[in-house]
């Protein structure tokens, strides 16, 4: 019986279909471990081998990875949420209510999206804290630290644009308070110092952000497009650059 099963396994593993998908075997050798990383599109982000402290939780805190994981969770749940949500002042709030009360697992979906977004903000802050404390921004990683700072800002902006979308009192006033700052931008805001006479509340930088003089339907549409298309695209491009540079700058930082 056992022999028969082993024979069957050999047959499957050596078949043309199997070998076309999985190019390496499963023997316990360093060569196979290396191929496992090099020949896998998802894993080839990693080098085949890392310094021993690179797998130590006490050193890395896993925070960069958790940030990326949270981004993936928000991307998947976000796409599902888009099926039920219309970014117009008439429907936005109703759609969120409908999602919460009538869609199977709708509430869970929304919760996961929101908490993963908050988790991403926490993780990205702690990631920066760790990278600073280990001095990992030092030569030759200066540029990648800068990319990371931009990614931190992009993360906050992603979370902020998403905050408006439920279109309830919490969302509306949080975004009102947040964007009120733009009035005071020097030169470009209508209440900022050194603004020219031509800059009024109808053409300043806050107007560009809101699409109006107060948070309104066009703000909702703007934030929706920024949140679902523009900023995630930017974040993805920067993440690709960030991960690539980690490899090119010598992998995880270490004392040598």
């Amino acid at each position: 019986m056992n022999e028969k099963r082993n024979g069957l396994k050999e047959k499957i593993v050596n078949s043309q279909i199997w070998r076309s998908m999985f190019r390496h075997g499963y023997e316990n050798t360093g060569r196979r471990y290396t191929l496992q990383i090099l020949q896998n599109v998802w894993l080839h982000l990693h080098p085949p081998r890392v310094p021993r402290h690179g797998i130590n939780f006490r050193f890395t805190w896993c925070m960069g990875g958790i940030t990326f994981l949270m981004f993936l969770v928000t991307a998947v749940t976000g796409v599902l949420l888009m099926f039920y949500y219309r970014p117009t002042a008439e429907y936005a709030f109703r759609d969120v209510q409908y999602l919460e009360f009538d869609i199977p697992f709708g509430m869970l979906l929304r919760n996961m999206h929101r908490w993963a977004a908050h988790g991403m903000v926490i993780a990205v802050m702690l990631h920066m804290f760790r990278v600073f404390l280990t001095g990992s921004y030092k030569k030759p990683r200066e540029f990648n630290w800068g990319v990371g700072v931009i990614l931190l800002v992009v993360t906050l902006f992603l979370s902020f644009t998403g905050y408006l979308l439920p279109w309830d009192q919490l969302a509306f006033w949080a975004v009102t308070v947040g964007t009120n700052m733009a009035r005071a931008t020097p030169v470009l805001g209508h209440e900022g110092p050194f603004h020219p006479q031509d800059i009024t509340q109808e053409n300043d930088v806050r107007f560009a952000l809101l699409g109006g003089t107060i948070v309104g339907p066009s703000t909702l549409l703007r934030f929706y497009i920024l949140h679902c298309v523009a900023v995630p695209l930017l974040a993805s491009v920067l993440m690709a650059l960030h991960f690539w540079r980690v490899r090119k700058d010598g992998g995880i930082s270490g004392p040598l």
């Binding site: 006490r58 994981l69 802050m125 630290w145 800068g146 700072v149 009192q169 209440e191």
Partner: protein, 288 residues
């Protein structure tokens, strides 16, 4: 007390609660490793010169980490619902109106600075300053391991900025700022009718200056003098300090400007609390 409990258990404040526990833990974790490395002379990571295969060792750790995090997220999402208040109404302003929690340190700065500084200039300088760090920190030590002794200034400055100014102000803004953005002790009821007398005066007034033009000049001298502290210190110490010579004038000016700007926040907080100072420099175009 009940209302504080209600505030803490508000769904959107859960992340802040998480930070209140996570940040001290990770600070302790890094400091204890730093002390250990400093005592041993060589970082613990240096002893482990060998490399390990990513598959299976790192991938296994990542997989376990992802499962644990997703489990926490699932439990969090099942037990606590995302908030949804009444439909938005531009005519009904809640008091207090607060920005999302991660911007509350900025909103807290509005108490001490005008919007153009607290909301635009300082956030911009935080971003620029963070990006500038690797280019102004010329200390070659402490790369890739935890240490306290080898880079005391860098660690102290960053921890002060991150833990005290960013996170603590965020917590204060969330839990201790009530209606009218007034300060409420944790055990106090958030009274929307609380009256706080506005007795703040400008620094020039405190010094007996009543004339607008003199006050303007006085404010300029104080602010310029404050930022001149950096270059003055440089000229004074340049000859005797090898470190300053190596750092160079440009790097030094960037560091001292950013450092003094960061310190201006706690300085202005103390001036406000102790002497009710509103502005340092009042000019026809802007106030600082």
């Amino acid at each position: 007390m009940e209302h504080l409990l209600a505030l803490i258990t508000k769904p959107d404040n859960v992340p802040i609660l998480a930070i209140v526990f996570l940040l001290p833990y990770f600070t302790w974790l890094s400091f204890s490793q730093g002390r250990k490395n400093d005592r041993a002379g060589t970082p613990a990571e240096a002893a482990l010169k060998d490399k390990v295969y990513v598959w299976p060792y790192l991938c296994r750790n990542e997989f376990i980490c992802a499962i644990i995090i997703l489990l926490i997220l699932a439990v969090w999402s099942i037990t606590i619902d995302a908030p949804l208040e009444e439909p938005s109404d531009p005519t009904k302003t809640p008091n207090p109106s607060k920005a999302p929690w991660y911007f509350l340190a900025l909103q807290e700065m509005l108490v001490y600075f005008d919007p153009w500084i607290a909301g635009v200039v300082l956030p911009g300088l935080i971003i620029v300053g963070l990006i500038a760090i690797p280019y102004v920190d010329i200390n070659p030590k402490g790369k890739g391991y935890y240490t306290l002794k080898e880079r005391p200034f860098a660690i102290a400055t960053f921890c002060f900025g991150f833990i005290i100014l960013w996170i603590t102000l965020m917590v204060v803004g969330t839990f201790l700022r009530g209606p009218g953005w007034n300060f409420f002790a944790p055990w106090k009821y958030w009274d929307p009718h609380k009256v706080v007398p506005l007795t703040n005066v400008n620094l020039s007034y405190k010094f007996g200056i009543r004339d607008v033009l003199t006050a303007n000049v006085f404010g300029f001298v104080v602010v310029a003098g404050y930022f001149a502290l950096g270059p003055i210190f440089y000229l004074w110490k340049k000859r005797s300090s090898e470190f300053l010579q190596e750092l160079g004038l440009v790097r030094y000016i960037v560091v001292s400007f950013l450092f003094l700007t960061m310190l201006s926040l706690p300085i202005k907080m103390i001036l406000r609390w102790v002497w009710n100072i509103k502005y340092i420099w009042v000019s026809p175009w802007f106030n600082i």
